[in-house]
Symmetry: C2
Subunit: 338 residues, 2 copies
Amino acid sequence: MKYKAATIKDIAQALGLSTSTVSRALRDSHEISAATRQLVLDHAAQLNYHPNPIALSLKEKKSRSIGVIVSEIANSFFSQTINGIESVANEKGYTVIISQSHESFEKEVSTLQYLASRSIDGLLISVSSATKDLAPLKALHQYGFPIVFFDRIVEEIATHQVRVDNFQGAYNATTHLLQQGYQRIGCITNSAHLSITRERVAGYVAALDKAGIRLPASLIKYCFHGGMLQEEVADAVQELLQEKKRPDAIFATSDKLTTGCIRALKKAKLAIPEDMGLTGFSNSDLIELLYAPITVVRQPAFEMGQVATELLLQLIESKRPVKDFETKVLQTSLITPP
Amino acid sequence: MKYKAATIKDIAQALGLSTSTVSRALRDSHEISAATRQLVLDHAAQLNYHPNPIALSLKEKKSRSIGVIVSEIANSFFSQTINGIESVANEKGYTVIISQSHESFEKEVSTLQYLASRSIDGLLISVSSATKDLAPLKALHQYGFPIVFFDRIVEEIATHQVRVDNFQGAYNATTHLLQQGYQRIGCITNSAHLSITRERVAGYVAALDKAGIRLPASLIKYCFHGGMLQEEVADAVQELLQEKKRPDAIFATSDKLTTGCIRALKKAKLAIPEDMGLTGFSNSDLIELLYAPITVVRQPAFEMGQVATELLLQLIESKRPVKDFETKVLQTSLITPP
DNA sequence: TTTATTTACGCAATCGTTCCCGGAAAAATC
DNA sequence: GATTTTTCCGGGAACGATTGCGTAAATAAA
């Protein structure tokens, strides 16, 4: 019943040849006579022969698959990134195995070990917001395992990195709010140990500085779960609203946080942009259809996936250990509603 | 430099045993003396030994991985389904390999062949809107390859199926529009050869029938690319607007189509629900934040993924060919804005 | 003490493929 | 016609793990 795929041995037997000859006819060719080669090729086509990738993997000690770990594929930014990753990987004949950490460190570690044990050839990762212990990643990296970080970078590990100019993106968004006339801008951001948090908060602070505005640190609210938990964002917004001197605008540093703020503000019956200004990072294509069409910072997610994958494959296919690591920085764009 | 994983041979050599003894010590145990077994176990732990899954796959002729083909992971419904799939698959020790057809038949076929050649143990698929030639799927199925359809079913192929009660969902949505007072309800739907299209359109027609309303077939607009192309939906909406007797409401049968309608209506400067009523299938969690908070039909996507995966694993792990196929039908829910 | 049984382990085949090595036949050279 | 070179192909090991079969030693039964 169960389908048995044709093997090289089947072809050899049918044609009265040896497996080595068949194998060579299918690849080398020049060591094999044209007649035999054609014979093999024809019969292979007839049997719908496909080399068994598992046998190949065992022999070549590579699986031609790469792992991707993101927090959530339901996140527009990540799903767009994955499209970019797949476009490059598939073209080069690699399978992409996608895993989600759901912003949990434990899930990330278990997924990491699982992927490693599944013998993937390399890893693309945007670390979870809960990741502070880098030991598991470092262990893998020290074995010479190819890793490329994208979006949420880990600086302590020396390898290729792809990210956007988070500082500039945040700076532009904050400046935009200032230009709209907002003065007291709060910030709702991700877990404090994420690279994107540091960089985006820095951009936000720099923009305020430039405008000569100095605000208390309490106007920056960190969401440890990065907006995974709806109430976490709602609480952060509530806290901002309860500040002695209440902010007149909010800058949110990620997709989930931006939409979370809108949700919270709607619940609090605060009109955007009248009662509260809002801008933030987001790659959702529904932004323009929201009841409050806000300005957002958009990342070139697809391109980011492409670039990261190219770097990873480069790392994987390099003959000798790569010592020279690149950090690609892409530009964000500020999208304002029509 | 490159990390070389410990093998059973390494352990055998270090301990002066044969590979068979080591292998058995790691599994059987009762054929091996307790002393030797402990020795092997200790040394394996010390070397951080993990059985090579590729070697195992080659031997066992199964890879403990399943393939999933959906049109778009960026689609809320599918990303939620995938979460359900992963939750079950990972728990049972299976890897999930996700692929996207992007609603293209060619991409679906190539992805299908690619997955099959990557020796996955089974397939979960929601066919693309462009799929009318079923030959590739049938070929795979005839070989006894385990396939489970979810959401977008192929009736011609006898296997497990998981879907929602599309008829009822569409019936409820249409009835809701009728109750709001709309009389002339147009329908924007997916490619005509999709199961969900047939079922949802049937539900829509039945609801109109029940209300004693008979509308021309021209009020049903089919989008061959299922909303992948923005302009396709925009065109469909335009056509509806140019009908001699213009409809006063629209029922959209999928996620992309629903948001596509909103986009198109906004562009046409038609207010929802005043100028045009709208309801449709959608699993996006941003619906309630849209400028026009519409009523939507929601599918239990996560559960659907879970159920489909359980059926697939059951199929994969069954000793003898399964002849008795199940069709699981889940219920939709009508979500109205507060 | 002899025979039968168990215990504990090794040998070798197997999965599908590649590739090094060796060798016969054909072709080219002297 | 004899030698060298080329062409073309087969044998067999290897990748990492499992497993049926064989067998020596240890133990139990006679």
